[in-house]
Symmetry: C2
Subunit: 314 residues, 2 copies
């Protein structure tokens, strides 16, 4: 069983590149205020066997942990810069697995301009468990919430939906019929989602409400409707699909298949409302905001029964 | 098994009292910068059976989780104001245990002026695991590190040492001979340490180096010596003891007993170096800073062999 002091000294200290981290020698990170900016914070946890598959490689687990948190920052238009990390290692997580986990962190630190800032490593008799607290800066007083959607706004989403959900099945060997290349692409969409930090700031400038799509497109749209006190109308056929998801859908009942793609979750795209004509390039209109409450879903102009939408009415 | 949405809505949303928390409805907390102040962040994790006893009441586990983090902020002179929380519930943690955990958070939020700001709750097939990311403000550019101790400084500690270590034994039924009252006092010192937020700011104003005593007085003194590139001389007999620890010590070999109290850890006092005459009231001088390296421990003016000090030379 590797020692925690040695784990920190050899694997984590090299990742603490920012001066705010104080070389992980000080139990705390110290972050000077930045006048004109707000600090945006988010924290998500993952558990082996619950949020990832037991044989997922540790480096990809590390990168997905960072990315699901980065997705929350992206949806708020924040520019990420660092994170605190807590890891509970099970006994089977020896030096090699720990080093692989740290290597994954290093890769995505480089990809996203992050520094490790602090945290804690402990041992556990249970499954591998980790949480990351991600920090980003955003223009002061201009971080969109979920609560600002206005009647007359349009509803948009970035990228494509359903790939994460298909990717989980692909990773478990359930989509062989789509061919090796599609299986590989979808598996990576599940294991290594790409947070939309590219579009986040431009969206935050014009959006009235934003959320990242983690629970599923329909569930997250319902959250915006509820928080904003408005009704969202969403056209299922407008939800953008990847070529791989379209190929999968061709072998399914069209409505049932679309519902599955739009409720599966793990998309890590940005869902947002904005006045007509204001959405940046690279986003797809999928509906509109009207007076009322709740989410109204249509497929080819016909209403879909709410009991078929398959998301929690929280 | 309680639902996570319901857990958040019923137990955690009432704890998100600060506007920065956005009612836990937004996946992120948004914190305006405060010109003239630095944000101090720390994150610690606890695992059932590793960091607390399996039958420790959930409300006390919650409070200790906050307090061990608050102790890190106290040692840096920061004024705490909020935290993000990640909790992994095992199946046996039903509604009643979750409510007790939230009640413990509520109690210490009131005691320390905290708001829950965000986080994540998940289920786990393993033991109860939680991490907290605590946030505090401190005067800009004046947060002491571990690395500033200077030859000529004195070494000080707040409160008393060894009570947490004795308290763990008391909680396990090992100190009956000290009497019910002492057992109760020591058990509470273990379960509910009191972070020295009262003394932290005054210490930070004068200290050249600070650390909270979590690993043990000698280990944390060695960390300061190493980080500062100096030698610390520490007189074991000067380490302040509670009446309960003194009563325990009376039945032990004096040197071995003192070594145990000074290496046990879980004290959550503040250890610091400062120029002579500068330490605030309520702190005890226990040694001095000289040129050289490492920690030199004496007992009644005789050196104690380093191999008896019982801490990791990390």
């Amino acid at each position: 069983m590797p020692d925690e002091f040695e784990t920190i000294a050899r694997l984590f200290r090299p990742l603490a590149t920012a001066p705010e981290a104080r070389g992980l020698a000080d139990d705390v990170a110290v972050l000077p205020s930045r006048p004109g900016l707000d600090l945006v914070l988010t924290k998500d946890a993952v558990v082996d066997g619950v949020h990832f598959l037991p044989d997922d490689p540790p480096d990809l687990v590390a990168r997905k942990l960072l990315r699901v948190n980065l997705s929350d920052l992206a949806a708020k238009g924040a520019q990420p810069f660092g994170y605190l990390l807590a890891v509970a290692w099970p006994e089977r997580f020896g030096w090699k697995a720990r080093a692989a986990f740290a290597h994954g962190l290093e890769q995505d630190q480089a990809a996203y301009g992050l520094s490790l800032l602090g945290g804690d490593t402990v041992s556990t008799p249970g499954p591998f468990t980790a949480s990351a607290t991600l920090l980003g800066w955003a223009p002061q007083g201009r971080v969109p919430s979920r609560a600002g959607a206005q009647p007359g706004d349009r509803l948009f989403v970035t990228g494509t939906v359903g790939d994460g959900w298909l990717g989980l099945q692909a990773a478990q060997g359930g989509l062989e019929r789509l061919g090796r290349e599609a299986v590989d692409i979808l598996t990576m969409r599940y294991r290594l989602p790409e947070p939309r930090l590219d579009l986040g700031p431009a969206i935050a400038e014009v959006a009235t409400a934003t959320a990242d799509v983690s629970d599923g497109l329909l569930a997250d749209a319902a959250h915006i409707a509820s928080a904003s006190g408005v009704r969202l109308e969403l056209a299922l056929e407008a939800a953008p699909l990847s070529p791989e998801a379209a190929a999968w859908l061709a072998g399914e009942d069209a409505l049932e298949g679309r519902l599955a793609l739009c409720t599966g979750g793990d998309d890590y795209q940005i869902l947002f409302t904005a006045p007509p004509g204001r959405a940046p390039e690279g986003t797809t209109p999928i509906g509109r905001v009207v007076q009322g409450e709740g989410l109204a879903v249509t497929y080819q102009d016909r209403p879909v029964q709410p009991d078929r939408l398959g998301w929690r009415h929280a």
